[in-house]
Amino acid sequence: MADSDGDRFSRQRLHWGEEKQRQIAESSILIAGLGGLGATVSQIMARAGVARLHLVDDGSVEWSDLHRQSLYGECDIGSNKVLVTRKRLQAINSRVEIVCHNTRVDNTFCLPPGIRGVADCLDNFTGRFDLYAAIPDGMFFVHGGVQGDQGQVLTLIKGASLPLDEILAGCRQPEGLIPVTPESVFAVASFMSSELFQAISGAPKLLNRFLVVDMAGFTLSFLEV
């Protein structure tokens, strides 16, 4: 039953090496939104061994979440998402420090101290713009979004990149429920996680360019911004 990080991370260390593992193990990442993207991104971050995860969401688990939100099950209906997520992540990797923020991201949101980078897993554009406004210059911001069977990932560096609200100017929230398939959420969350690891090691691959994921056409494309 004894655990050692040597065993736990042996496979990924073989792939990306000691230095990257050290950088990941020293990182504090804020995950904004614990829906489809946030549930899977936070799980991958915990499994990979980040030092600390700040989880931000004010929602509860609903039946309509279960088809795509990988950390939740029927027994969690009605439960607070940040608390369920903390419990599941601690069961996966008890060494990760989990800090819960049971709050909505709006224009009053303040970023906790010590954050290395932010994962935008929110489900609305207004919250995304408020989140981007809350981060300091120089911080990386990995944005993800999904709709239907498409999605996108984009990395920005605050102060050096165009602001998110300028790039996405004109985007407003669709009325009603947003259609979304389970597999597109998992795919976009995986690309977000990969990009987070790249950004943690100082070499984001999607800096100032969208990765557009089209599950229907089995295509990936890029769009410079």
């Binding site: 489809g36 993800g144 709709q147 300028e166 790039i167 100017a169 004109g170 410079e224």
Partner: protein, 82 residues
């Protein structure tokens, strides 16, 4: 993307604007797209961003944004959900 193609080359003409390029796209590809992008008052619908050389046209001059020869016009509907 709107025509199922990643990219399409269109001929350029003097005085080209984003609005005119979209009309040209419709006539060349025979795919009606303007009703998806522009409302009955001639204003841009929300939901699709239009970039000219990486800049959102809402920060330039909207549909009247000038398009030069060899400019790249990108249309992309970002997913809103998470």
């Amino acid at each position: 993307m709107l025509s199922g193609k990643a990219a399409i080359d269109l001929p350029w003409a003097e005085g080209e604007t984003v609005g005119r390029v979209l009309l040209k796209f419709q006539s060349v590809e025979l795919i009606p797209v303007n009703h998806k992008l522009i409302d009955e008052h001639g204003a841009l619908h929300t939901g699709t961003i239009i970039l000219v050389n990486r800049k959102n046209i809402l920060h330039i001059n909207g549909l009247d944004t000038p398009v030069q020869d060899n400019d790249v016009l990108s249309l992309f509907p970002p997913g809103a959900g998470g």
